[in-house]
């Protein structure tokens, strides 16, 4: 990482203030005007639009191997999504993923 402390604290403060303003937005404004339907429709998909794209390169080109493709890590990613989909539970996904990751790392050649 090549950020200066000033840049790091700028990121922390702006992200903190920006997140607060998002949380405060409607509560802080008077009146109960509901959001237009088309805005809500976009907002609904922000987490599933951002998170998969963030993770995909880390799964295919992991930082821990210097960007070399790694089978245990791919299998662990598949197991995490599988366990999360079946159980609808985040913690179960993490445990399933870590279990497959260590199984793969310590048993696959």
């Amino acid at each position: 990482m090549t950020f200066t402390p000033l840049e790091i604290w700028t990121i922390i403060l702006v992200l903190g203030i920006g997140t607060f303003l998002l949380r405060f937005s409607f509560l802080g404004m008077i009146g109960n005007r509901p959001l237009p339907e088309w805005v809500l429709r976009y907002l609904r998909y922000t987490p599933v639009a951002v998170l998969p794209g963030l993770v995909a390169p880390l799964v295919i080109w992991p930082s821990g191997t210097g960007g070399e493709f790694d089978l245990p890590r791919l299998l662990a990613a598949v197991a995490t999504v599988g366990a999360g989909l079946i159980t609808r539970n985040t913690l179960a996904g993490i445990i399933g993923g870590l279990a497959v990751l260590y199984l793969g790392l310590f048993t696959l050649p």
Partner: protein, 219 residues
């Protein structure tokens, strides 16, 4: 409390991820105290580790928190009449878990007084937020002691995927996720974070359009 089981490992992992990325303890705690939003904190730290431009780090991490505006809108009919400083506190402590607990209760018992609703909200925050700070601190402190064979670099992708899987509730969500993955990989040659921003916007549009399309076919 089932939330405790989720929050503590998350906080630990964030502390570890921050330390792995090269942040010091004060900076890691700065994130958890000033931002308190797990997914966007992980996003910011990951992009910083990739040396993405500051503006890209901010835009992407804030995009992850856009859903908070939805939470704010849906709490407004219940808590909008509270004084400003109380609403500011409600906003500061607004996380997925506190929102989910509070809105369930308000929708079941909409006739409760404002004071009762605020008290319930405070109760919903108390098992989540302090534990977030403490477990982040523990992860940041202990993280350095864990050897590289344990592949902690991969704790972050696993955490993200585990948060993501339960969100894939409909065909539209799955379509958005697939577009996001495909474009992020195809655009990986662009400067860090830029491809992700393009992929995320395209995926949001995809999700919204698929939802409309499914609704029209039903109608």
């Amino acid at each position: 409390m089932p939330f405790l089981l989720v929050i503590v490992p998350f906080g630990l992992l964030f502390g570890v991820a921050g330390a792995e990325a090269g942040l010091n303890l004060a900076e890691i705690m700065g994130f958890s105290v000033l931002v308190i939003a797990g997914a966007s904190q992980f996003t910011a730290v990951q992009l910083m580790a990739d040396n993405a431009p500051v503006l890209v780090v901010l835009a992407t991490s804030l995009a992850v928190n856009l859903r908070m505006a939805m939470y704010s809108a849906s709490l407004t009919p219940h808590l909008g009449a509270a004084p400003g400083w109380q609403k500011a506190l409600v906003a500061y402590f607004m996380v997925d878990q506190s929102y989910a607990l509070a809105i369930q209760d308000y929708e079941r018992q909409p006739d409760r007084s404002l004071a009762e609703k605020l008290a319930y909200y405070a109760g919903a925050c108390s098992p989540v937020c302090p534990q977030w700070y403490v477990s982040t601190w523990a992860g940041a402190t202990l993280g350095q002691a864990i050897p590289p064979e344990f592949a902690l670099d991969f704790a972050v992708p696993i955490t993200f995927l585990a948060m993501l899987a339960p969100m894939l509730r409909s065909a539209a969500h799955v379509a958005a996720a697939l577009v996001s993955v495909g474009l992020a990989l195809a655009l990986a040659f662009l400067p860090a974070g830029v491809g992700l921003l393009i992929a995320a916007v395209a995926a949001m549009v995809t999700g919204a359009q698929v939802e409309l399309w499914i609704e029209r076919r039903r109608a």
